[in-house]
Structures are given as structure tokens and as C-alpha cells.
């Protein structure tokens, strides 16, 4: 490690301690007591309430549905915006405009989008789908544009050289290059969205989040524990299948 790195580390640590002092909670002296109350003990997280599993599983299924529909819709639009945003295919002003628009969409957090869509379509799963869908269009389009920009031009030239039309160039050289990578980012996005879908309900956008919100508000840690367990199981299953499918794709 050279001298410059040491200086950076020291600056980092000093600001870290400064921030710690600044945000240290004051007047909350029951920390340790709260810990044991929330985690262990008869009413703690670690003693989940099995009785509410039926209502949890219906919430989890709804979260899964929200994630899968939101991701699919976003994928369809991301293909369109990905092509419009890629510098090598669409004209420069169009691609710059598309990229700016996508960046702007990505800045609005899913949970705020959910609140906006609840205003429009009312609380429930549909608002969650729209929120996840719109937010994912932003990220997926950016990644799709990057895939298209890194296309290998040689197979396309080959098809053109033997007299292929523009359509057949796309069908036989560009599309086979795009599809596996596109599906891979889509499935990766599903992993992210299943996590998001399980908390969207906290603002009223359907799924397990609603049950979670009520359990948290009433400080019913047994129920919270059971819900967290349910979320862990579902997300783990989705992650497992997703990583297997992605490994096969690439």
C-alpha cells in the first residue's frame, strides 16, 4: 500500500467516526432490552407463529405473481427501448433521448412508483405490477441497449454478404446473439423483483407486504418472524431456479 492509499483510508475512517457520532441514536437506552424482546423470548421473531401460514402463503403467491408479470411486461418494453437506445442501431438523438428517459425512470424508487399507481388504479396487486414494471423498464432497457451495442458485427456481415435481407440479418445473426443474454438479465431482474414485490405491500400495492405491515405495526413479532421465514423460502427457491437457468443460458 502506498502513501496515497493510507491517506484515503485515514480520511475514510475519520469521516466514518464523525458520521457515527452524528447519527448515534440518543435517548434510546433500551437497545439491549429491545433486542431480546424482538428476537428471542415467547413473543420474538425466533418463535414464528405457524398458525398464520395459510394467509402468508396466499400473500407470497401474490408477490410472486406481481414479480413475474411486472418483469415480463418490462422485458417486452425493454426490447423496444433497448433497440431505440442502442447507439449502433438507432439514430443518435433518439438513442440519447431514450437513455436519458431511462435514467430518469430508474431514479424513481419502486416504492414511490407504487404510491403513484395506487392513486391511479387503487390499492392491490395491479398497482404493484405497474410499479415494478415501470421501474424495471428503466434498468432492463439500459442493459438491453448495452447488449445490442456489444453485438459482434461479423455474423451480420456474413448474412448480408450472401444476399440476406435486413430482416434475415436480424433473424439469423443478431437475434441469436441477443436472446440468451437478454433472457439472463430478465431472470436476474426477476430475482430483484421478487424481493421488491414482497415489500411493496407495505404501501398498499399487494402481496405479502400488507400482512407484514400490519404485523410490524402491531409489533406482533411472532407473525413477523413467520412472514420473514416465508419470504426467505420463496426468494431462495426463485434464486435457485434462476441461477440454474442462467447457467444453462450462457
Amino acid at each position: 500500500m502506498n502513501k496515497k492509499n493510507w491517506v484515503l483510508w485515514i480520511i475514510g475512517l475519520i469521516s466514518f467516526f464523525y458520521i457515527t457520532i452524528e447519527i448515534w441514536p440518543q435517548g434510546n437506552k433500551k437497545g439491549a432490552e429491545m433486542f431480546s424482546k424482538v428476537f428471542s423470548g415467547e413473543n420474538g421473531l425466533l418463535n414464528p407463529e405457524w398458525g398464520i401460514m395459510p394467509s402468508i402463503s396466499s400473500g407470497l403467491i401474490e408477490s410472486f405473481q406481481i414479480a413475474i408479470i411486472g418483469t415480463t411486461f418490462a422485458g417486452i418494453f425493454a426490447l423496444i427501448f433497448g433497440f431505440l437506445g442502442s447507439e449502433n442501431i438507432s439514430p443518435k438523438p433518439v438513442s440519447i433521448f431514450c437513455k436519458l428517459l431511462m435514467n430518469a425512470i430508474r431514479t424513481i424508487p419502486e416504492i414511490l412508483m407504487a404510491i403513484i399507481f395506487i392513486v391511479g388504479v387503487g390499492p392491490g396487486a395491479f398497482a404493484g405490477i405497474l410499479a415494478l414494471g415501470f421501474h424495471s423498464i428503466g434498468t432492463l432497457s439500459k442493459l438491453t441497449a448495452e447488449i445490442i451495442e456489444s453485438l459482434d458485427p461479423k455474423p451480420m456481415e456474413a448474412v448480408l454478404a450472401v444476399g440476406g435481407s435486413r430482416l434475415s440479418t436480424f433473424r439469423y445473426s443478431a437475434w441469436p446473439q441477443i436472446l440468451p443474454e437478454f433472457l439472463s438479465i430478465l431472470i436476474y431482474r426477476l430475482e430483484i423483483n421478487i424481493r421488491a414485490a414482497s415489500v411493496l405491500g407495505m404501501v398498499g400495492a399487494g402481496g405479502i407486504g400488507k400482512t407484514l405491515f400490519f404485523a410490524l405495526m402491531s409489533r406482533n413479532w411472532n407473525n413477523v418472524g413467520a412472514i420473514i421465514l416465508g419470504i426467505i423460502v420463496v426468494v431462495t427457491i426463485v434464486d435457485f431456479f434462476s441461477s440454474r437457468i442462467r447457467a444453462k443460458l450462457i
Partner: protein, 250 residues
């Protein structure tokens, strides 16, 4: 054949989800009027309050910084313990990976809500939640890159009797450090966005003001906050990408 089978299975799941969640284009179009009203209310953005809430923007930034630094420092040894190339103990690495997978399944907002219950509604709760979140991501990214590093230097160290510590210090660290720093910056980008929304569940930062303004119906103030957030996120992304490109060169 297998291709058509997977497409069919996907379509069955997708249509089942569509029917269960009552997605309808008609409802969306009907809702557009309300969303339009909302968006019209948001324009023009009212910047009068921005200077008053600017300290909370800084708090969000500080939370992100705190979480990235603490999360990455803790992540480093844990990534070493989970990497198959460093720790030659299948039982140990599998165990650590399992625990890390479970930590990563919990969504950031849920972690924030739990921390609020533990530490009270303050920025400290948000910072700790983001720390856990960053820890999970950095550890995973790091052990995955450690799994694919060149093992020969490590073998050389082991063959002259080097311990686990010296394998890390002389074998892995020099190779992995630039990548580690690049992951930290990437997670900082994620944390900047997350730090803005954990306030929605009370965990401090600018998110608190989103909530307040929603409840008061001051939508033009929300759009001004979003614009400032967009500016901050863009600047941080730009700087971080520049530094990351430099790191990858060395």
C-alpha cells in the same frame, strides 16, 4: 422440443398470474386520468422547501457512506471464509455461503423496518439496515471473483507453509483489491438510492419527507425532491463509474 415445453410452462404460469391479479388494460386506462391529475399537480416543482430539507439529503448520503464502509470492511474476511480457493474446507465455505444467501434474501425495506423497531425511528436504524444489505452483496460478489482467481500463487504460499492469513495477505489481496474497491463503489451507488427510500418506513434520511409531503398532498414538493435526488444520483454514478474504470485499468 424442450424449448417449446418451457415456453408452454411459462405461458401457463403467466396467464394464471394475470387472471389471479386481475390485470386489466381498461382499469389502467381508467386510472390514467387520476395519474395524470397527480402528475399535473407535481408540475412545476416547488423548490421552496429544498434548502430546508437539505440536511436530510446529507443524512441520506452519510447513511450510504457509513453502510458501504462498515459493510465492506466486515465483508472482506467473510468473503475470504466463503471462497473455495482461499479456505480449503468445503464444510466451512458451504456453511458461510448458506448463511450469506439467507441474509441476501431479506429485502432492504424489511431490514429497515426491523431496525426501526430495534433502534427507533432515526438515521442510525437506516444506516445499520443498509450495512447488512451492503455486507450481503459485497461478500457475494467478492467470493465469486475469488473463486475464479489464479490459484498458483496461493499454492506456492501453501507449499512453503504459509497460513490462511498469509494466503490472504500475499496471495489473494494483491489480485483482488482493485475489484473489491470497484464492488464497494457499485454498492455505494445502490446505497445512495436505498438510503433515500428507507425513510419511508421511518429510518431517517430524505425518505421521511416523501412520506410527509404525500400525506399533506404537496405533490409539487415531491417532484422537487425527486429532481434533487436525480441530480445527486447522477453525479455519484458518474464519479463512481470514472473511478471504477481507472481501477480496472491498474
Amino acid at each position: 422440443m424442450k424449448k417449446y415445453l418451457s415456453i408452454t410452462i411459462f405461458f401457463l404460469i403467466f396467464s394464471w398470474a394475470l387472471i389471479e391479479t386481475e390485470v386489466s388494460l381498461a382499469r389502467f386506462i381508467k386510472g390514467l386520468a387520476d395519474i395524470k391529475f397527480f402528475l399535473v399537480e407535481m408540475w412545476p416543482p416547488d423548490f421552496s422547501e429544498v434548502s430546508a430539507v437539505f440536511p436530510d439529503f446529507l443524512i441520506s448520503l452519510k447513511m450510504a457512506f457509513f453502510a458501504t464502509l462498515l459493510g465492506s470492511i466486515v465483508a472482506y474476511p467473510f468473503a475470504m471464509l466463503s471462497a473455495k480457493t482461499i479456505t480449503k474446507n468445503i464444510f466451512l465455505t458451504t456453511l458461510f455461503r448458506l448463511v450469506l444467501n439467507v441474509i441476501r434474501t431479506i429485502p432492504d425495506l424489511l431490514l429497515a423496518a426491523l431496525c426501526v423497531a430495534l433502534f427507533g425511528a432515526n438515521p442510525f436504524a437506516g444506516a445499520i439496515a443498509l450495512t447488512f444489505f451492503s455486507f450481503g452483496i459485497i461478500t457475494k460478489l467478492l467470493y465469486e471473483s475469488l473463486d475464479s482467481i489464479n490459484e498458483e500463487p496461493l499454492r506456492a504460499i501453501s507449499s512453503v507453509g504459509g497460513s490462511w492469513m498469509s494466503r490472504i495477505k500475499y496471495g489473494a489481496s494483491p489480485i483482488i483489491l482493485p475489484q473489491f474497491l470497484s464492488y464497494c463503489l457499485y454498492v455505494f451507488e445502490i446505497n445512495i438510492r436505498a438510503a433515500a427510500i428507507v425513510g419511508l418506513v421511518g429510518a431517517g434520511g430524505i425518505g421521511v419527507w416523501f412520506n410527509v409531503n404525500f400525506d399533506l398532498g404537496q405533490y409539487s414538493k415531491i417532484s422537487s425532491l425527486l429532481l434533487v435526488m436525480f441530480a445527486i444520483v447522477t453525479i455519484v454514478d458518474y464519479l463512481s463509474e470514472k473511478i471504477r474504470k481507472k481501477l480496472m485499468k491498474t
